[in-house]
């Protein structure tokens, strides 16, 4: 027996990216724009969707709800009378802490792509892992709430760097916190210069129209030619 070195030089996540590209092609063929919505647990993904998707005019929205287990968020969104598909990572996907392209691919047959213009994929709450895995989205949004601390962009740079918009949520709590909003915005800009930020409160509704308009803008983008 002897050992031979084999040169590989291949991104280990190429397999995921290949499936993500296939997902994207299927979404484009159906004329559906796709948003990957990410945040830490409890930052307000579901609350913000509750506040905004109902008032989107002329855009038919569907949600793919990613959770480790349970359908609490999906149940909340279903009351808005929009199609919601639950995707649990336990037990089929080993209780993964994020969605990857293959998980979304398995959900494709249960998505009403012909009846929607915009699919929002609510990822599993987590600031680390979802950032690594493209799922076939057109755009990425993340929510950072003011209860999380100003240093979060520096601690989770990949998440902040790969998003097309950063939503700052729970502004209504600012009077009760020792939170330096300017410091947070500075850190966001350090990690992802010039990324658009939206300041809002999903609870009071302050500023939520900014996110609603962003959703509408992504929905109206012409699909890329595949």
């Amino acid at each position: 027996m002897h050992r031979t070195k084999v040169t590989v030089v291949e991104e280990a996540l190429d397999a995921n990216n290949t499936i993500a590209t296939a997902n994207r092609a299927d979404f484009d063929r159906a004329g559906v724009s796709v948003i990957n919505l990410m945040s830490a647990p409890g930052a307000g993904k579901t609350s913000l969707l509750e506040r905004t998707v109902g008032s989107l005019l002329d855009v038919r929205v569907g949600v793919l709800e990613g959770d480790v287990q349970g359908s609490m968020d999906a149940d909340r969104l279903a009351s808005l009378h929009i199609p919601v598909t639950q995707l649990n990572t336990a037990p089929a996907f080993g209780g993964e802490c994020h969605l990857d392209a293959n998980m979304v691919r398995t959900a494709l047959p249960s998505l009403p792509l012909d009846d929607i213009d915009l699919l929002i994929i609510e990822n599993v709450g987590n600031l680390v892992c979802p950032a690594e895995f493209r799922v076939g989205e057109d755009a990425r949004a993340m929510i950072c709430s003011v209860t999380e601390g100003e240093d979060k962009p520096l601690k989770y740079p990949l998440m902040f760097r790969t998003c097309d918009v950063v939503v700052i949520n729970k502004l209504d709590l600012l009077p009760h916190l020792e939170f330096d909003l300017d410091r947070l915005l500075y850190n966001v800009d350090q990690v992802h210069p010039d990324v658009p930020t939206l300041l809002l409160s999903a609870r009071t509704g302050e500023g939520v129209e900014g996110f609603r308009d962003w959703l509408a803008e992504v929905a109206l983008r012409t699909p890329a030619v595949v």
Binding site: V9, C129, V191
Partner: protein
């Protein structure tokens, strides 16, 4: 936790290139900008590799320094903390020269001894 998925990705990539041979070593280049914990990746690698052609293989990880470049003023610099604005001109048109890698660079495989007839 995502090191579990990442280790699977590394093993699948290595097996794809092994041509059915037993893998003894996987050389991986991990950029500083990736949020990979080397010890955690090694732990999962050993576990996930069992029963595959990578079973018992060693995982060597080389960390690739993060280097950025500014398109406006051509400055190139390395970063310790994730700051993506040019420290010289303040520009935002910055590209990543290195540090994004998560790449299987090479593998080592066992070849059966040559038993060609004389």
């Amino acid at each position: 936790m995502h090191e579990l998925s990442l280790s699977s990705a590394v093993i699948n990539t290595a097996v794809k290139h092994a041509g059915g041979r037993q893998v003894t070593l996987v050389n991986l280049r991990v950029g500083q900008l990736r949020q990979v914990v080397p010890d955690s990746l090694e732990f999962y690698f050993e576990f996930v590799a069992r029963g595959t052609l990578c079973g018992g293989a060693r995982l060597e990880q080389v960390v690739v320094e993060a280097r950025l470049g500014c398109r406006s003023c051509d400055l190139e610099w390395s970063i310790e903390i994730p700051a993506f604005r040019c420290p010289s001109c303040g520009g935002s048109d910055v590209w990543v020269a290195s540090g994004n890698e998560f790449e299987v660079e090479s593998i080592e495989v066992e070849e059966a001894a040559c038993i060609a007839p004389r």
